[in-house]
Amino acid sequence: MTQELLRLEKIVKSFAGVQALKGVDLQVNSGEITCLVGENGCGKSTLIKVISGVYQPDSGSIFIDGKPVSHLRPIDSIRSGIQVIYQDFSLFPNLSVAENLALNDQLSQGKRFVNWGNVRAIAQEALKRTDVKLPLDALVGDLSVADKQLIAISRAILQDARLVVMDEPTTALTGKEVAALFKVVRNLQAKGIAILFVSHKLNEVLEIAEKVVIMRNGEKVLDTPARELDARKISHYMTGREIAESYYDFTAKPNETTLLKVEHLTLPGAFEDISFSLRSGEILGITGLLGSGRTELAKALFGESPAKSGTIHVKGQVVNIRSIQDAIRNRIGYVPEDRLTEGLFLQRSIGSNIVTSTLKQLLSRVGIVENRKVNNEIGQWVENLHIKTRDVSLPVRSLSGGNQQRVVLAKWLSAKPQILILNGPTVGVDVGSKEELHQIIKDLAHKGMGIIVISDDIPELMATCNRILLMRRGRIGEELVTRQTGEGELSAKLRQSAV
């Protein structure tokens, strides 16, 4: 059954003198699920673009079905059955599911007219092949990210794909959706289709992959069956250093007022009767599944969608948080989960993003922005949070995910919050940066900040929080002390909370 489908030999690719790929070998067999992992900038994306024919390698050879291919163009790649599903899926939000599925097929056949009966038939065929059920007449824009992805996959399979490359397919999916995706992937595998899976999430990689290929600095450092690996080993190879994250311990100082105390907080439809407290120096984890109300709770504490009843105390004082301004006045900061849409002005410079919420404090006496003060402030955060950039006047968009997340963090830290709520602080961030971000979070807590981490990344919760609240259908189901809870136990509890 396993037959060599694609083989790359000693692929070298440079950009402006920098070697992105330094002689990489890769073999993909039919019906095999291979995971390609590596930190940002390790050459994964370049390798994918070589496979899809977008980039021509400087040297090295490509074999498809054992035959050498001298010049692989995108169209050759597609014709040999290689389909790349990009992170944005390349779908049309304004068109129906059926049309999205059928459009590429019709285009490649050079059709000039549209036969709508045909479109439906093609779409049904596509969904049948992936064994996915979706409403054909729904507009794609109205569907969830997971459904969009299934459409992108179905569309790829329709074009007789033999190798499907998925670039970070699970970044925006919930646990349940990932499970559904994996079912589809295994289904494809059973049909002899090879999958090349690019991912950051190690537990997912270990769950789905048969073979793991790890890249670092443009080189392949490991190529081995997945069963011989564990998360620690993978991170070791990815980063080239041993990442051993420890627990975060906290002991309360005896006579200190509680930093944040929440009592019976309720927002009908979102969460109910939430009570908890947070001390200065504590890192409190809040987790829960899809629709458990954890994001809504965070938004209520930040005044974005205020709670209907219940009380919030900050340092023993009852405070009324009805708006974001109220939250900021009480020095509560919130780093949203979707940093791209909620947290940053992507086109604006790194520097201006950092100071955007604190510009007022950087004014001179007559109310004019003092450039020297601003630059000091920016420089300080770039240094403290190790934001990797050669120039702070570059747009934020030019940064990698981990560094973008640091800019968001810097933006909120510059407002000097006493309570910081982080929602999915390392979503879409690679392993090395993740560990560094965790360290930053812990350092902040050590300095006396109270931090709430909202996440469903269990290793992350285990590594950063001293206590974890498990939310279930809008209520706090359980409170766990990290030290006394195993990773497996937490993950089982999280899964159980679905029922």
Binding site: L103, R112, V114, G269, G288, G293, E337
Partner: protein, 338 residues
């Protein structure tokens, strides 16, 4: 599957209801003036030119662009065609349409060059060419109003090419043949949009330009078609306007662009591109025309017409915005935290 809920979510249906309701109100308050064939003919006649323009504006909006230059193209087409007919002495209505269509096409392609090849923003380009075309016309061709009946026979005579004539209280009322041009063009645009890959390309570009490019659509060629065709429609619309008005006035038409775009938007086309239908556009045109010609029958002073049109635009754009907001809220409630 069209269930009731989906039907109500469609803007075409909402505008249809508004249209029926408005007609009912006018009919109840002033039945004698409103409910008669001559008045219906009058409303339809007023729809023709706006309707032809609106079909072009619809295509541009679906593709994610906006075109405000079509009135200038229309008046150039009308005025230049009239001059050519007068100069050559070939006094023929088909020639007038052919010339108008060609001049419109040529000017539309000027827009296409700037938009397709130089990739400039559509609003800026067409704002520029609106003034450019009109300025050039007034400077080079003149600013004198030409009465068709004074210089042509056949062309001027087309004013009386009616398809139905009924006796009215004073004289008779007629429906002009150019309503057939509108219907024919509407059918053509509907077919292009719905049943050709070119039409789907227009939707695709409006939905996600980059995805369209990756799927293999030729964006530049599609834009050349769109702006060329819009120019052609504007040219035809200009000739029809001349025939109905019995004159070629270089100062006419310009200024109607906002009403036309309003009609298209009211008919469900999205300013952001990707959405819009021919049937919705025709309903939008009918609504705008009804307001500007028949609101008087309700005793509403003419000054208020602009107010009502403005309010309708805000409501028309507001309804889909609210709907999508509601959908988003429902969606986040469903999916919750990621």
């Amino acid at each position: 599957m069209l269930n009731l809920r989906a039907l109500f979510a469609r803007q075409e249906f909402i505008i249809f209801i508004v249209l029926v309701a408005l007609c009912a109100i006018i009919a109840i308050i002033n039945p004698t003036a409103f409910l008669n064939v001559p008045n219906a003919f009058r409303i339809l006649r007023a729809c023709i030119v706006i309707g032809i323009f609106a079909l072009g504006a619809l295509m541009v909006l679906i593709s994610g662009g906006i075109d405000v230059s079509f009135p200038a193209i229309a008046i150039c087409a009308l005025y230049l065609s009239t001059l050519i007919i007068v100069d050559t002495g070939i006094d023929s209505v088909p020639l007038a349409f052919a010339l108008g269509g060609l001049i419109g096409l040529a000017l539309g392609l000027v827009n296409a060059v700037f938009i397709g090849i130089f990739k400039l923003p559509t609003l800026i380009v067409t704002l520029g060419t609106l003034n450019l075309f009109r300025g050039a016309l007034l400077f080079f061709a003149g600013s004198v109003r030409i009465r068709l009946s004074e210089v042509t026979t056949n062309f001027a005579d087309a004013t009386r090419w009616n398809i139905i004539t009924v006796p009215a209280a004073r004289g008779e009322a007629s429906l002009h043949f150019s309503i057939l041009i509108l219907l024919g063009l509407a059918l053509l645009v509907w077919f292009i949009l719905r049943y050709t890959m070119l039409g789907r390309a227009i939707y695709a570009i409006g939905g996600d330009r980059e995805a369209a490019e990756r799927a293999g659509f030729n964006i530049v060629r599609t834009q050349f078609f769109i702006y060329g065709f819009v120019g052609f429609l504007a040219g035809i619309g200009g000739i029809v306007f001349g025939i109905l008005a019995r004159e070629a006035d270089p100062f006419a038409i310009v200024g109607t662009e906002l009403d036309v775009i309003a009609a298209v938007v009211l008919g469900g086309a999205s300013i952001l591109g990707g959405r819009g239908t021919v049937i919705g556009t025709l309903l939008g045109v009918l609504l705008i025309t009804l307001i500007s010609s028949n609101l008087v029958l309700l005793g509403i002073p003419t000054e208020w017409q602009r107010f009502v049109i403005g309010a309708l635009i805000i409501i028309g754009v507001g309804i889909p915005a609210l709907q999508s907001l509601r959908r988003k809220v429902r969606h986040t409630q469903l999916s919750g935290a990621v």
